[in-house]
Amino acid sequence: MTRIRFQQSLEELKEKLLVMAGLAEQAIQRAIEAYRTRDLSICDQVSQGEIAINRMEREIDQAALDLLAMEQPMAGDLRFILSVIKINGELERVGNAAKSISERVSHMERMAPAELPVNIPKMATLASEMVRKCLQAFIEADAELARSVLTMDDAVDAMNKAAFKSLIKVMEEHSHLAPQALNALMISRSLERVADHATNIAEDVIFWVEGEDVRHHKSLNIVQEQQDKGGTTTS
């Protein structure tokens, strides 16, 4: 087997990304835990974790750039490195979303508790399940598993839309609960973002494993349908 050093470099890059993935997953878990328990010390942990995530992101991008420049990767190797770079970015944003959630939680601590018509825990569970699955798909290079993540996104989107509607209504009808409602809205949106990032990671895994670019399939399909119908498209 030739190019042993290159193989090892690719393995090391994968390891680095898995560390990054671990950090991001941990951040989300902590943020959800903080929401559940209202434990402010956990919020601090999330903030600390953010530093490590940012450092790791730079490290991974640098390593990937070096491999691109020095090793002239082709085909599968090239797609792998490209996917690593993109997943790296997505994981960093997952970390950002976790931080955002934990900040909201620390604000909530100062407010009175309120019953709100939104199931944050369920959304959280779904979102973190998606993150777990897409990372599993990366570890095992499993395109099927990645595809299953894509279908989960719709549920989270729907939940977020519903939350939006009902929380707006709360803010209109019970204006004294507006701060809490707004908080809940922002947490819901962060969770929806996390689900989006997990979807993107899944798409990147499919690109790496199969060489197929499955992004934006929904909007592209809509465009295609409109074109088929003979209508114009808005660019």
């Binding site: 030739t2 190019r3 290159f6 990767p73 082709m74 085909a75 599968g76």
Partner: protein
Amino acid sequence: MGVGIEVTTLNAWYGSNHALQDINLNIPANQATALIGPSGCGKSTFVRCLNRMHETIPVARVTGTVIIGALDIYKDITPVEIRRRVGMVFQRPNPFPTMSIYENVAAGLKLNGYSSRHVLDEIVERSLRNSALWDEVKDDLKKKSGASLSGGQQQRLCIARALAVDPEVLLMDEPASALDPVSTSKIEDLIFQLKAQYTIVIVTHNMQQAARVAEKTGFFLNGRMVEFDSTDKIFTNPSDKRTEDYITGRFG
């Protein structure tokens, strides 16, 4: 203008060595097609079957069909005639040592009977312009010998010499492998320009070069053609695992 090449069930032997096995291939006109593969895979043999240079070796044998621009080159035409229509540039530049630059470029024409000074002057200039050598040698055409140029210039001289007989296809057997990176870039830029007028087939073991210049790439292995597809597909997502192993360097 260039023409397309259709190869059907091409087999070639060196004595008892079955160097090419059942090659089927369609090379498009006015494009550059790259042939890659490890040493001894048959890509050079294949290219030499396209201008019937393979049979200059005493123990060589060929079966199958090669159709270049509607001509069956093994049935409808003599070897000498096909070589006027399918030019070749070799790995090591090989200008004629006893001839000046002018005489080198004009050699193909002179040796086939063209003698009009005026016509030759014109063709020599045009060929040297087309091979991006004119500006560097226009003052020394008849004074300097072909062998006194640098390696990169010599190779461009050989290209000019091949172009002077106005072929339709240009075969290039690892044309830049003996050259430095700057000369290589010049040759590659040249190939880009030549595509408009000729069909180019380039054998190369430098995959990055194939990626840079060719629209289509074929991967040869052990005398067979494993995969033939658009260059970006071959290098980003090849269909055959053997192709993937070769281009990622996982071979052997």
